[in-house]
Structures are given as C-alpha cells and as structure tokens.
Subunit: 206 residues, 2 copies
C-alpha cells in the first residue's frame, strides 16, 4: 500500500474541526483527530505542525498571495484600484471551499481566546504584507499602511457577512460591496444629504 493517502489533508482537517466543535479545541488531541480520520499521527505531522495549524493553514498563504497581486498589478493603477482588482483573485483562490467548513472554523476560533488573538495576529500579518507591497511600488509609508489596514478590514467584514447570511452572495460580490460601503461611509457628510462632498460642514454658530 502506498504511503500517500488520498485526501489525507482534507480528511484530517475535517476530523479535527468535528472534534473541536464536539469537545472544544483545547481538549482535543492529535491522536483523537487521526483516529477519527482513520489515519496515523505520523501522517498528521506530515501535513500540519500542530493542531492549531489545521485552523490557520489557508489563512497563512494570504499575505503571500496579496504580495503577488500587488507586485503584478499594472504600474498605472492607484492603490485602491489594485485592491479592487485583487478581490476576485483572493475570493477564488482562498474561499472556494464549502462555506460550512468556514462557518465551523469561525465558531471554533471564537470559542477560544488564544485562537481569537492568533486570528488578529494573522490579520495583522496580512496588513503588513499589503503595506510592504505598496511601499515597493513607491507609495509612502503612511498611505501604504492605511490602505493595508482598510483592506484587512474589508476582508474580515466581508468574510463575516458571507458566514453570517443564510443565503449569502458570492464572496467576491461581498468583498466589492463591503469596499463600496466603506468608501461611501467615509465620504458621507450626512445620511440624508449628498454623498459626494468631502468639504467639512461649517462650524455651527448658534
């Protein structure tokens, strides 16, 4: 029999998530995961450094993907155009799997303080990669940092919408919509007023 196990990675990840939900992340052991998956502990450690990596495996590749998108974007695009253009690529590469998997994963992370902090750090790493990418394109550090933070916000909020809604739109649509809503809320002098003015309201004299 070949040592290579078809879908071993997916089977391990699936078994791990089931167990994290059933008995909590902290009290689940690697041998329990491999028993559930019908695989050996040795196979587990060929795929994952530890049980936490099962949860952050796909998120770990986001910074590198973002760096590539920014480096490859045509030089004449503004930062916000680069971001807008990259959303579809990220959506198709990163969020193509079953939504139930992502929902379960989020529930597990939210139930554990250590995992929540780790997720914030991962978002922070994405942000740093984006900032660095734009500085490589010649953007000043301040603008690069700000666009990076905003992009990380758009990501986490759009993913939250995708996971929350009963019949969610496609993730790429939610990413674009979230960015559009963010731009409108930043640009809005008054909910009932015109939305394209950025001039501050005059000081009140009454």
């Amino acid at each position: 029999m070949s040592r290579w196990q078809p879908n071993a990675r997916e089977r391990l990840a699936g078994a791990a998530l089931e167990l994290f939900v059933e008995q909590g992340f902290a009290s689940t052991t690697v041998p329990e995961i491999t028993a559930r998956a019908g695989l050996t502990t040795r196979t587990f450690f060929r795929h994952f450094a530890d049980k936490r990596e099962v949860l952050f495996d796909s998120e770990d590749s986001l910074p590198a993907l973002a760096s590539r998108i920014i480096a490859d974007a045509p030089a004449e695009l503004s930062p916000i155009q680069v971001i807008t253009g990259g959303l579809d690529t990220v959506a198709s590469v990163q969020f193509s799997g079953d939504i139930a998997h992502f929902r379960t994963r989020r529930a597990v992370i939210h139930a554990d303080e250590g995992l929540r902090e780790r997720e914030l750090r991962k978002m922070s790493a994405l942000s740093e990669a984006i900032s660095h990418g734009f500085q490589e394109r010649g953007l000043d550090e301040l603008r690069a940092t700000l666009i990076a933070h905003v992009t990380a916000t758009v990501f986490s909020v759009a993913i939250g919408r995708w996971l929350d809604e009963d019949k969610p739109a496609a993730i790429s649509e939610l990413l674009h919509d979230t960015l559009a809503v963010l731009r409108s809320v930043m640009d809005e002098p008054h909910p009932d007023g015109p939305t394209r003015k950025l001039v501050p309201a005059p000081a009140r004299t009454d």
Copy 2:
C-alpha cells in the same frame, strides 16, 4: 503619616516602565517595581490589578470615552462627522501626558508577543464600542462596523506617527491629518489624477 501617597500611581507607573525597559516585562516583579518607586506592594495593588495593567491602564478607558462621545453627538451629524468631532476630545483626554512615557510604553509592548496580542485585543474592544455606539444611533450594523474599524485604524496609525516623529505635531492634528489621508487614499482613482472622483476608471481596451 497618611496612607495616601501623593502621585503614587504615577510613581509606580514610572518605576514599572523603567524596569520593563531595563530587564524586560516578563522578568520584572511587582516587588521590584514597588522597591524602585519607594512604595509598598500593597499600594501597588490598590492601583493596579497586576503589572500588565500598568501598561494598559489608560487604554482601558478609551472604549467608554468613545461611547460617550458618540452618544452625546448631535443627532444630525453623520458618522464621519461624529468621528471627526470626537478626535480632539480623545486627544486631550487620553494623550495629554509626556510623549516619552508613551514612547517607552510602546517599546515595551512591541518587545513582548503577549503584550502585542493584548494591544490588538484592546483596539478590538475600542472598535466594538464604536460600532455599538453607532448602532444605538440607528446606523446599520455593516456601516457601524466599518466606521468603527476605520476609526481604530486612524487611532493606531496617528499614534504611531506621533511616537515616531522627532518633532511631532500635536496628536489632535495627526489624528485629523491621518483621517484626511485615509479618506483621500480611499477616494483616489490615480495618484496623479483628480482626487475627488469615485467613479471607477473605464476598463482598459488596449
């Protein structure tokens, strides 16, 4: 002699920061801090729950301050106007102390992974307070969440600029400038083009 120690809180915070810089956060004990400050351990625990609280003491009051500002803002102001109006209040209440103190504090936090994660959580708590405040004013959850994230970004970036620069402008000025730059970078179709258009550039046909 009175049990009340003049400036005990400040003396303890100052001594703690000195020791954290000299020997690291992890290896500094509360008795060392109180010895340096010339005060008792008992006095320390009247002011701080533990040595970590010395670092996050002032940040802990930010969410409540933000909630008050949002609740008290005139109903006719848009979210971005409420935020703009609140920046000066936060600057004067929260960042009125010696800049050297804030610089040292940042260096200590950045040197310790646990403290960095804690700081991200604190920013997240600020963000939640802002989002909740705007939802109380009737804003939908999506817009409230986005404006909250953006405000937290403006804060952390403006504070970073204040601490980084040799002769920094006033923190309130940096807060306003950071918000303005963020709005311009979100709104910019091209670095060399007009900055007030939000219409997407036409698709390239070449």
